[in-house]
């Protein structure tokens, strides 16, 4: 999540000699990233990326708390002018409560909905525009300016990081306008509420909602208020409503309804209950000042389980263990204190007390190392290599990767083009190849029919590659090495590496490529894989595993024969019963035959050259001819 705040907004709480650009640079290195700065009138707007588990930093004061700890490590002064969590206390507010004209009848049906519930009724409201500085800051933050009451509610969220809601008291009050009923409960499936933006929402069920005394839903809690209870230009009395909700429930409602508001983004991350107090007190103060509010009810605060400070004990040596350098104890303590952690030293250990605003992200010692390391500065740590150790790769992996690389480069040099296709194919491709759809794993939530099934063969993809490229080049020769996914019962599929080749030339092209490849890999004997013809495309596919076993680094050395080689040519007329293979087989029955070579093929007339030699003497031409005649 990103939020926008201004430089002057931060200066409400922070005293510093750091320029906006220095703040950007230093905070980005050690805290939240300030991705952009924009100059407006007499202020600067920061666009800040909030780290996902640091919702406590998503406010002006939250950023100030970070700046206070970080800036001094870059030689900048930083002082917190005042801390709203200490200044804005209920005790301060309670002193001012003199009138209790109105009453709230609060019922919370389940106890896992809301960890803290606070509310207060304010009378004498005069709706009008909010003061200029609030308008300007909200505009900079990208929030629509509406009126003093709504603007203050939004302003509170970005200042202290706690969303609030405001009801029009009279719209939900009972007939004598003296009290209002507020029932917080889980929604039933299918219940409906019309929310502020006039959308009618059908609830998925178990969402946190508020029902008034007249059985109407008036709030989709944490996400958006009901239209029936919202502030209008005529509002006179309001309820300022500050809660912390069950984050899982808020998240579920956001995910299922698709309604995402900035408030919901806060609540679904889980908010610190202690923030409620300062937010409500500051809220009352601002509403008094800018909307003429008068407190006219008692303060409602339901907070069954107040925060008990978490304690984490860490040996000092642990910081060095993870950071790799020794940091003075004094520095460790200084960093933790400046971030709001109280500390106590016990011999070689440090006891760290987690402040309320970090209760959800600090759990273990490693979390504290991160705090110290980032403020100390990752860039102040040296670069080292992990100490060398003897680690052997599993033979299976090593051989596979070596073979893949060797094959790829060899085929490239033969003139083939490598393709990488998606592992998923369409139903149409399965059908085109007369494969069984049931043999394929199917993606439940695919985003396109083109990528619905996991392939069990590379051929449909390669065939498609050639079809797609028809007309772009005269000859096309593709290969791919990739996995296929073969279904197994009750288990993950068997993932098998395959090599596939496809050409639009002829049968002997594919055969020649395969023979050349086997020669390159020093494979002595291998049954030729099937070559398939589909339209005018010739294709073949091999399981790589079957090649691995037969591949050799070096071929078998044959001693060089110093004796004469007799070359004899003979022409055969090929027919069904006399294939090249048959001639070859028969010829090699001779103990003197070294090799044979096809010289030419004209119609069915095949001319073969035979190479005869003996291992221990010079063979005579007569002897060779005798051998050949045996054919």
């Amino acid at each position: 999540m990103n939020i926008k705040l201004t430089y002057n907004w931060l200066l409400d709480f922070l005293e510093t000699d750091a320029s906006p650009f220095e703040i950007q640079k230093y905070l980005s290195l050690s805290g939240p990233s300030i991705e952009r700065i924009e100059k407006i009138d007499n202020d600067y707007v920061f666009d800040i990326e909030i780290i996902s588990n640091r919702i406590d930093t998503a406010s002006a004061f939250g950023i100030v708390q970070e700046a206070f700890a970080i800036l001094p490590f870059f030689g900048k002064k930083a002082k917190i002018k005042f801390n709203p969590f200490e200044e804005y206390k209920f005790s301060k507010l309670l002193k001012n409560i003199t009138v209790e004209d109105y009453e709230l009848n609060i019922v919370i049906k389940e106890n896992n909905l809301c960890s803290r519930f606070s509310a207060i009724v304010l009378d004498n409201i005069k709706i009008g525009p909010s003061p200029y500085f609030i308008q300007q800051r909200l505009k900079a933050a990208g929030i629509k300016v509406i009126n003093n009451v709504v603007d203050i509610s939004n302003y509170l969220m970005l200042t202290l990081g706690q969303p609030t809601h405001i009801f029009d008291f009279d719209k939900i009050a009972n007939d004598d306008r003296k009290y209002a009923t507020i029932i917080m409960r889980e929604s039933k499936k299918g219940e409906q509420i019309v929310i502020l933006d006039e959308k009618k929402v059908k609830l998925p069920g178990q969402d946190i909602v508020i029902e008034d005394g007249k059985k109407r839903l008036i709030d989709l809690c944490g996400i958006m208020g009901g239209l029936n209870s919202c502030i209008s230009n005529q509002s006179k009395r309001i309820i300022l409503f500050v809660q912390t909700y069950n984050k899982q429930k808020i998240r579920k409602t956001v995910m299922t309804t698709g309604i995402r508001t900035l408030a919901a983004t806060y609540f679904e991350k889980g908010l610190d209950e202690e923030r409620v107090e300062a937010t409500l007190v500051l809220g009352v103060e601002l509403l008094k000042k800018y909307a003429f509010a008068k407190i006219s009810s008692k303060l409602y605060d339901i907070y069954p389980n107040p925060y008990q400070k978490k304690k984490i004990i860490v040996p000092f040596s642990f910081f060095e263990k993870i950071m790799g350098i020794s940091i003075p104890k004094k520095t460790i303590i200084q960093i933790l204190n400046s971030l709001g952690f109280e500390t106590k030293i016990c011999n070689e250990k440090i006891e760290v007390f987690v402040p309320h605003f970090r209760k959800y992200d600090i759990d273990v010692a490693e979390d504290l190392v991160e705090e110290v390391a980032r403020v100390y500065g990752y860039n102040n740590l040296p670069n080292n290599f992990s100490p060398p150790v003897q680690v052997f790769p599993p033979e299976k992996f090593e051989k596979t990767f070596k073979l893949i690389s060797k094959i790829k480069h060899f085929l490239k040099h033969l003139g083939l083009n490598e393709v990488i296709n998606y592992s998923m194919i369409s139903k149409k491709m399965i059908e085109e190849w007369k494969l069984n759809e049931k043999d394929h794993l199917k993606i439940k939530n695919s985003i396109s029919s083109e990528i619905e099934y996991l392939r069990i063969s590379l051929l449909p993809s390669l065939y498609k590659n050639i079809k797609d490229n028809e007309g772009k080049r005269e000859t096309l020769k593709f290969f791919e090495i990739g996995k296929v996914y073969l279904i197994r019962k009750n288990d993950l599929p068997k993932e098998e590496y395959r090599l596939a080749i496809a050409v639009n030339t002829d049968f002997f092209d594919v055969k020649g490529i395969l023979e050349a490849l086997f020669l390159e890999l020093n494979i002595e004997s291998f049954a030729l894989p099937k070559i398939i013809k589909k339209d005018n495309i010739f294709l073949t596919e091999i399981n790589l595993l079957s090649l691995i076993e037969k591949t050799k680094l070096l071929p078998r050395f044959k001693p060089i024969n110093p004796y004469a080689i007799i070359k004899l040519d003979k022409t055969f007329e090929l027919e069904k019963n006399l294939s090249f293979e048959k001639i070859r087989e028969k010829a090699f029955k001779s103990p003197y035959l070294d090799k044979i070579q096809v010289l030419s093929l004209f119609k069915n007339k095949l001319t073969i050259r035979f190479y005869y030699s003996a291992k221990d003497r010079n063979l005579t031409e007569e002897e060779a001819k005798k051998e050949l005649e045996k054919l």
């Binding site: 490693e366 990767f401 996995k483």
Partner: protein, 341 residues
């Protein structure tokens, strides 16, 4: 006879140049013919006519012979003309997918540091992609990894079958395969349901994992810095920024200085058009979370480790040569793209 000697001389010319020289020798201003003509002055009147005729005849014959030889030589030279500017004998030129080169380069850099390459399932159980990485059911961090699910009966222990949305599932598998010390890299296809100019539903990820006694942040920093300098160039530097991932603690984003503005964010006083203020995001990384070690059967009190994950496609496109505006071309199988590499 004199004429025969001349003719022989002409016939012996090996090329046009020789022939020109010979022509000058006989027919030039100070050539043989002119010298012979000079003699005519001293001759008696009655012989002059005859002598002149004779000289003219010789001259004519020589000219004939020269022209004849010229034609012969021209024909010969035409046949023998050797044009070295013609292209050489064509050899087959195939291609590998650009990612193949990138992946091989990455592997070779890490092999030299003693890391071994492994491979783990692309079709995975939820458990290895999430629970084993400290992301229990319902955890919002799972949202960061939008996932394809497979129609298949759920496994009692490991949950639903998915297409792995990252290579980090290999962390737990590697810890199961081998006890520390671990030095692993894993490059594999990964899958997420996004398909537009900057996303493809299948892409690659590259995972590094190092677990041993006394492993600390400086080892992670040093390793990635080495990789960046080898892969992008010696003038590039990295920076670590705080981040949050469930499976590492501390966690960082790793940025590399922009190759265009070298980390300054501007070129000749103008904002750099390539980067966000001087830096490009490269990878997520961190120290392996103790819970992840525990789930892999490794004692976090004895061992520590680091891990990182990044995209080879991104690494490729961050190189000078590969400015691609639509990433989908990588998996289009278009020969006009493939044959370039």
């Amino acid at each position: 006879m004199e004429l025969e000697l001349c003719k022989n001389d002409i016939r012996k010319c090996k090329n046009i140049e020789d022939l020109e020289k010979t022509k000058i020798k006989y027919l030039g201003r100070n050539g043989l013919i002119n010298k012979m003509l000079l003699r005519i002055r001293a001759m008696p009147e009655e012989q002059k006519k005859e002598y002149g005729k004779k000289i003219n005849y010789i001259k004519q014959k020589i000219e004939e012979e020269i022209n004849k030889r010229r034609k012969e030589l021209e024909k010969k030279e035409m046949i023998n003309f050797f044009d070295q500017t013609l292209p050489g004998k064509p050899y087959p030129k195939g291609s590998l997918h650009p990612l193949t080169y990138v992946i091989e380069e990455i592997i070779s850099i890490f092999s030299s540091l003693g890391f071994i390459q492994v491979s783990y399932p692309e079709v995975e159980w939820e458990y290895f992609s999430f629970e084993a990485l400290n992301m229990p059911k319902g955890h919002p961090a799972r949202d960061d990894f939008e996932t394809f699910f497979i129609e298949f009966p759920e496994n009692d222990r490991y949950g639903k079958m998915i297409l792995s949305p990252h290579t980090s599932s290999g962390q737990n598998r590697e810890m199961r395969r081998s006890k520390p010390p671990i030095r692993m890299i894993n490059i594999a296809k990964t899958y997420r349901p996004n398909w537009d100019a900057t996303h493809t539903p299948m892409f690659h990820q590259f995972e590094g994992l190092c677990i041993d006694k006394n492993i600390n942040i400086t080892h992670l920093k040093g390793t990635i810095d080495y990789f960046v300098k080898k892969f992008f160039g010696k003038n590039r530097i990295i920076r670590l920024r705080p981040a949050h991932f469930q499976f590492t603690e501390p966690s960082f984003e790793i940025d590399v200085s922009c190759g265009i503005c070298l980390g300054k964010g501007e070129v000749n006083g103008k904002k750099c058009r390539i980067c966000k203020s001087g830096w490009l995001e490269l990878a997520g990384a961190g120290m392996v979370h103790p819970n992840v070690l525990k789930m892999g059967g490794v004692d976090p009190n004895v061992y520590t480790g680091w891990a990182f994950g990044f995209g080879p496609e991104r690494c490729m496109m961050m190189r000078e040569e590969m400015k691609i505006d639509d990433i989908r071309i990588l998996y289009s199988g278009d020969i006009r793209f493939l044959e370039q590499f």
